[in-house]
Amino acid sequence: MLNLFGDGLLVGTMLVLAVLIIVSMIRSVLGPRIADRIIAVNMTGTMIIMILAVLSVYLDENYLADVCLLYAMISFLGVVVLCKVYTGVYLQKKRIKADLGAVEDNLKHQEKNKEGRQQAAGKKGQEVS
């Protein structure tokens, strides 16, 4: 009786997590910016790790806990590498220096962007008036 309930609990947990994974993957496809996608993929990885842990209890297999730990490490590595790669891609596209000069260059870019937006807003205001 208790065994049956325990199995039902674990299967129910896995089902809920599977639905959440699907929603999270939809967000990783939709996410407008690259950071949104990385966040969604990271969350998907977290839920896959939970499913692995539940499965290790459900099937009574020891090695799935090790798989769980390794999956966590590789997922962390993937996030760090993706962030580094996309930062580098952005800097190369904008031809910004990658080291300490990056701070000043980035501030300059932000200032320029702010001025551009203000000009655009001014134009829009003139058109309205």
């Binding site: 208790l2 309930f5 325990g6 609990l9 674990l10 947990t13 809920v16 997590l17 959440l20 929603v23 999270s24 967000r27 996410g31 910016r33 690259i34 950071a35 949104d36 990385i38 966040i39 969604a40 990271n42 969350m43 977290t46 839920m47 790790i49 939970m50 842990a53 539940v54 290790s56 209890v57 020891n62 806990a65 090790d66 769980c68 730990l69 966590a72 490490m73 962390f76 996030v79 760090v80 962030c83 580094k84 996309y86 930062t87 952005y90 800097l91 300490l100 990056a102 701070v103 980035n106 501030l107 870019h109 932000q110 962007n113 937006r117």
Partner: protein, 119 residues
């Protein structure tokens, strides 16, 4: 027998709490509009969600090497999640030019970077 039922109820409660946290994290990530806000919701699932799910499984499993490994996953996550969150937020702060008034890479006078530049 009664003890077994109590243990089962505790495990079910902890698993349900973890699932609620995870549900809130997914809901928040889909609800917010900016990546920095979304990260806030996702971090909750990464810390509290996985903690409660693993605690529930450990209660269900009993004291053994397996539950120690599950606890190790939680410890690793609590170390790795802030680091990856920092990386993602730095990526967003560097690449998003429409962040507005948030001056993310502000450098104060007399910080370590300043000293470094003097050298």
């Amino acid at each position: 027998m009664v003890m077994a039922w109590i243990r089962f109820a505790a495990a079910a409660g902890l698993l349900a709490l973890g699932l609620v946290f995870e549900l809130l994290a997914v809901f928040g990530v889909n609800r917010f509009r900016l990546a920095l806000n979304r990260m806030h919701a996702a971090a909750m699932g990464d810390t509290l969600g996985i903690l409660f799910v693993m605690l529930g499984l450990m209660v269900l499993r009993g004291f053994s090497m397996d539950s120690l490994k599950l606890f190790l996953v939680v410890v690793f996550f609590w170390i790795a999640s802030p680091v990856s969150g920092h990386m993602i937020s730095r990526l967003e702060a560097m690449t998003d030019e429409n962040l507005g008034e948030i001056l993310v890479m502000h450098r104060k006078e007399g910080t370590r970077e300043q000293e470094h530049e003097d050298i």
